[in-house]
Subunit: 272 residues, 2 copies
């Protein structure tokens, strides 16, 4: 039996999936839930503590008191303003380090946080170390397959996504007929897809490509898609979605594939 797992629970359904999976296998968990970020259902029936995002010292102390050996960071966290963060001493120290770091994008911050947790003796694992079928497979998952135009669009989008990712800006890019319709920064993939619905040229077509940033700490914030992403891509009039094989997460893959088939969207795992 694996040792107790500490779950730093960001938004979305991923943390709850990890909780469920651990409970199913009889593994103990302790959830750190962040005010205004974590879905409350994540904590139902399991040991947990609600904390403001800035309480890093409290979080570390409690995880130790709970004898957590492994820790996972799961689900996105929206970056708060400094005034809303209400940092404790430990968070202030971390912010000082972030200020001195080269980049100040999400990846720079998450890498420092992982380092900090490891410095405290925790073993930090990725969501895909815990959920056996969450990592994106290679190849076509849907009934629909990308056509030649889609393949060309995927290539362009992947090139742009990698360049952006190298600058720690965002993970997602939408391309249609060779034209980059939109590029993700802090607004997130959902807002990107909504905007692209109004920007694309008429007729169906276009692809969403979502890739890990080249230097990304892979134990935190891997690109994630699910049924919801498929629905939004369809609403935006796109042909399909490409993610990186083994370097992105798919929530409830069977559901997502069913939704993609229902909506006539392709989903493919590519190598970059």
């Amino acid at each position: 039996m694996a040792a107790k797992l500490g779950i730093l629970a960001g938004g979305g359904p991923l943390p709850a999936r990890i909780v469920q999976s651990c409970l199913a296998s009889g593994r103990e968990v302790f959830v750190i839930a962040f005010n205004n970020e974590t879905d409350p259902s994540t904590c139902e029936g399991v040991a947990h503590l609600w904390v403001p995002l800035g309480k890093v010292g409290t979080t570390v102390k409690r995880l130790k008191a709970e004898h957590c050996v492994e820790v996972v960071l799961a689900g996105p966290i929206r970056r708060p303003s400094f005034s809303k963060l209400k940092p404790d001493m430990r968070a202030l120290k971390l912010l000082g380090k972030i200020g001195k770091a080269k980049g100040q994008g999400d990846n720079a911050i998450l890498s420092l946080l992982v380092e900090e947790l490891e410095g405290e003796g925790f073993r930090v694992v990725g969501a895909d170390d815990l959920l056996s079928d969450v990592a994106a497979p290679g190849g076509i998952m849907s009934e629909k397959t990308p056509n030649e135009r889609d393949q060309a669009d995927i290539e362009i989008a992947a090139r742009v996504a990698l360049a952006l990712g190298a600058l720690d800006v965002g993970q997602a890019v939408v391309v249609q007929q060779g034209v980059v319709l939109g590029v993700e920064a802090v607004e997130g993939t959902d807002a990107l897809l909504e905007r692209c619905a109004g920007l694309k040229r008429e007729g169906r077509g276009g692809v969403l490509v979502k890739l890990k940033k080249p230097e990304q700490e892979r134990r935190a914030d891997l690109p994630t898609i699910g049924s919801d992403t498929v629905r939004r891509a369809a609403e935006a009039g796109l042909h399909g979605i490409a993610v990186e094989e083994g370097q992105s997460l798919i929530l409830d893959r069977a559901d997502m594939v069913a939704e993609a088939n229902r909506l006539g969207i392709f989903v493919v795992g590519i190598k970059v």
Copy 2:
């Protein structure tokens, strides 16, 4: 007296400024106005022809019949869908070349168009060859000056803008407190600024940086700002705007500076 100028008039106020400047100096002009793109006031009282965007053959023929020697491409053109473009034979030939070009972003297309016009014997000039005070000067234009945090944000935004521009994606980037809030693709700078208003962290701060794409054909679609950009930047809660000295256009600079001073926004011309 310079020879007759052919003006391919895209959207916004730049084409009208060129018309006014030519008329003031007694230079003859002929305006090609594009349906749904050109502001109708651009053509008032001057010789002109309205054409659908896809009528490249008609445009070339008419400019020759009008004995235009120099031609300027001024103002942005929204990229139409193929079905709306209704291309003539000449446009189809051009589209064939575009299909074979490396990139298919705006710059790739504009470069081919400039090449095409030069192949027909026209001399293609830039808006800043015609309007003496439209090129952005270096240094601070406003009363407000960028602080240290703004300078750091400008550096980050410029790095991202150049990387994006190299991929022919867009020209504008918004950064606040080291975080890239948004990146422009086809939505344009206005939509980018609107979106960033909802994404920034509270408190004033953040910069808009708008730069020429590194490989951009500089006679077409140089980054342009004006009073309206300043207003939208202020509405988005930003501190200021940076453009590239000599490589971007400022419409009605005196008005823009007055507006920047009224709203407490800085505007600076930088070297990159």
